[in-house]
């Protein structure tokens, strides 16, 4: 995984609660057996006016001008601002892959669905949970042309182009993995002896499980 570094970006306000993973990446795109290439179909049903199918050339499709991602002023943004319960629904990690493939590295929301949150960390997308009132303020601020946020994961700090500093919380282990670009599996395999010892004990306690 790529290391997570300090960056500054525009902020796309997606003003809907309960944005579900079916909306983030509709099911027809889950047929892919690859991890990449989902970006053009991120929010497919909201973003385009026609129906999308896998393998289509999206550059020729009619865009929905009302959808926030299609507004030229947000082009190149790496921060998505959402409402409560962001990422609810299915466990499809494709939702995270679509967001990162599009270019997002951060989603800010008042709350996230549990599975989405853990998937995000594993694929290098930082979910930042802030109080609803702070998120509301950011929604107002993101309307202004030229508004940006700087994300510093090491300091756990957001700084806005208007000078506001917003601290955020993040699990220490997850922060470490993101900053170092660590692979969970490699870390866990360092504890293989513990896993084997556990298995040995369980084989005696509960032999029917093996």
């Amino acid at each position: 995984m790529e290391k997570f570094t300090v960056f500054t970006s525009k902020v796309v306000p997606l003003d809907r609660p309960n944005v579900d993973t079916d909306a983030i990446i509709p099911k027809q795109f889950l047929k892919s057996i690859r991890r990449t290439g989902f970006g053009p179909n991120l929010f497919d049903e909201w973003r385009y006016l026609d129906h999308g199918e896998p393998g289509q050339d999206c550059s020729a499709r009619p865009l929905n001008p009302d959808f926030v991602l299609n507004q030229p002023r947000y082009a190149g943004a790496r921060i998505l601002l959402g409402r409560e319960n962001f990422g609810c629904g299915s466990s499809r990690e494709h939702a995270v892959w679509a967001l990162t493939d599009y270019g997002f590295r951060v989603v800010i929301a008042p709350s996230f669905a549990d599975i989405f949150r853990s998937n995000a960390f594993k694929s290098g997308l930082l979910p930042i949970q802030l109080e609803a009132a702070v998120v509301e303020r950011l929604f107002q601020a993101a309307q202004a042309e030229g508004f940006t946020l700087t994300v510093d994961l090491g300091q756990q700090l957001l700084t806005s182009s208007s000078g506001e500093a917003i601290p955020f919380e993040v699990d220490a282990f997850r922060r470490h993995c993101l900053l170092e670009g660590l692979d969970d599996i490699g870390l866990t395999l360092q504890q293989a002896d513990d896993i084997r010892a556990y298995e040995q004990r369980r084989r005696v306690e509960a032999p029917w499980l093996f």
Partner: protein, 470 residues
């Protein structure tokens, strides 16, 4: 030892090690795999030169993409076909047991796990699918994971987890006739909301839950994720043990006796502490119908579509307006005036034998109403289908004008050919009414199997209890 909840006990029994900050390496007993969320995990394993830690823990089945008609001809959609073939190949390459598309035991992953006895009390069960919560009905700790975690379990048999909080949902009393497990869980979600269970593991308890069959308990735990909780569970009792006994993967002989003795400890101790307790009166629950694009947007069948102008919270009101626009419904419409075009009986929520029996009992001797363009019954597995046919349920459905299909996820998420067209409305026994879930522009109303059957024969939503004898 201090009094512990069922969740605490399941958690404690699977801790390999815990870091000072609480991050825990949790051992996984059963790993269920399907074709959609696994290819990238197997690919990752290969790229890193790794092999599965314990193949005997894995059971694989294709379900999301499989056709429900003319299956012997294979899968017409080449992209779907490649995905299913990729699963087949991965299972061959890594020596994993798979029930292939034409195996009688094939079906929806959350139906076949319990059916085979591959899901057992006291286990940790994971699958790259959010409805893995279903298996918690057995007094197991079961939750959905993403593809990176699928790869992690394949490689290490463990997951890195942080413990959730404990929530008790207690449903006391007796359900009225015609009211089912589905109505209970929809009522719970209506009460606590789709994010109400976020950060929690929910234990469902109370006399109304204990009175349910295993099928009913699975329906309830299945939808714990729709309340935001990664895991839902029910304590073990005689009903659990009776269901498991004799299944192909269940323990036998001495192992069985030892297992059953251990399983009877799988309940919350008296005085165990829950962070949150929610109480419902079973007798007050009426048949439920969702009206919007989130499972929390639900009312009783004798209710009306709510009015966003009456909602105080502006974000919620806006969400309701978007939902009504999408659903093509006006505030104040009586639920029973809503007329579906399709009826779908199936999905891992409601495709087990008991669900099909309940629907067939309503349909028997009646006909699908003329305004219903299509009424589908999709059994949860080949074995459920076979059982239903032995009981003659298929003939009841076919004579009424339903289609009787081969098992799979089907129109629950419309990854195969079964899907709604834009604007079409469906009475569905599945678990999600999100925008586009059953086909782009499709409109989903979640109901119980009996209520779906009633809507099919009446042509509009109706309290199944008012239909009377067929």
């Amino acid at each position: 030892m201090a009094a512990r909840t069922l969740y605490d006990k399941l958690w404690d029994a699977h801790v390999v090690r815990t870091e000072p900050d609480g991050t825990t390496l949790l051992y996984i007993d059963r790993h269920l795999v399907h074709e959609v969320t696994s290819p990238q995990a197997f690919e990752g394993l290969r790229l890193a030169g790794r092999t599965p830690w314990r193949t005997s823990s894995i059971l694989a089945v294709p379900d999301h993409n499989v056709p429900t008609t003319a299956r012997e001809q294979g899968i017409a959609d080449p992209v779907s076909r490649i995905q299913v073939e990729t699963l087949d190949q991965n299972c061959v390459d890594f020596g994993i047991t798979e029930f292939g598309m034409n195996d009688l035991r094939q079906g929806i992953v959350h139906v076949i796990g319990p059916e085979q006895g591959a899901t057992l009390p006291g286990m940790t069960v994971v699958c790259g699918d959010s409805h893995t919560s279903t298996h918690g009905a057995f007094g197991a700790l079961a939750f959905g994971i993403g593809t990176s975690e699928v790869e992690h379990v394949l490689a290490t048999q463990c997951l890195i987890q942080n413990k959730s909080k404990n929530m008790l949902v207690s449903v006391e009393g007796e359900l009225a006739p015609g009211v089912t497990a589905k109505d209970i869980v929809l009522a719970v979600i209506g009460r606590i909301g789709t994010a109400g269970g976020t950060g929690y593991a929910i234990e469902f308890a109370g006399s109304a839950i204990r009175a349910l069959s295993m099928e009913g308990r699975m329906t309830i735990c299945n939808m714990a994720i729709e309340a935001g909780a990664r895991a839902g569970m029910v304590a073990v009792d005689e009903t659990t043990v009776e269901y498991v006994a004799g299944r192909p993967y269940a323990p036998r002989d001495d192992d069985w006796d030892q297992a059953v003795a251990a399983w009877f400890d799988l309940h919350s101790d008296a005085g165990a502490l829950f962070d949150t307790v929610v109480e419902l009166d079973a007798a007050a629950i009426r048949p439920q119908v969702t009206w919007g694009t989130s499972p929390e947007m639900v009312v009783a069948v004798d209710g009306r579509v709510p009015d966003p102008d009456q909602e105080a919270d502006p974000v919620r009101a806006e969400g309701m307006r978007k939902a009504l626009a999408y659903m093509g419904l006006a505030a104040g419409t009586p639920i029973r005036d809503i007329r579906p075009d399709h009826v779908f009986i199936g999905s891992c929520t409601n495709s087990r034998i008991e669900d099909l029996r309940a629907a067939a009992a309503v349909v028997k001797g009646r006909k699908v109403a003329p305004n219903i363009q299509q009424a589908l019954v999709v059994p949860g597995s080949g074995l459920v289908k076979q059982q239903a046919e032995q009981e003659g349920l298929d003939r009841i459905f076919l004579e009424a004008g339903f289609e009787w299909r081969a098992p799979g996820c089907s129109m629950c998420l419309a990854m195969n050919a079964d899907r709604l067209q834009p604007g079409e409305r469906c009475a569905s026994t599945s678990n999600r009414n999100f925008e586009g879930r059953q086909g782009q522009g499709g409109r989903t109303h979640l109901v119980s199997p009996a209520m779906a059957a009633a809507a099919a024969v009446a042509g509009h939503f109706v309290d199944v209890r008012e239909l009377g004898e067929g």
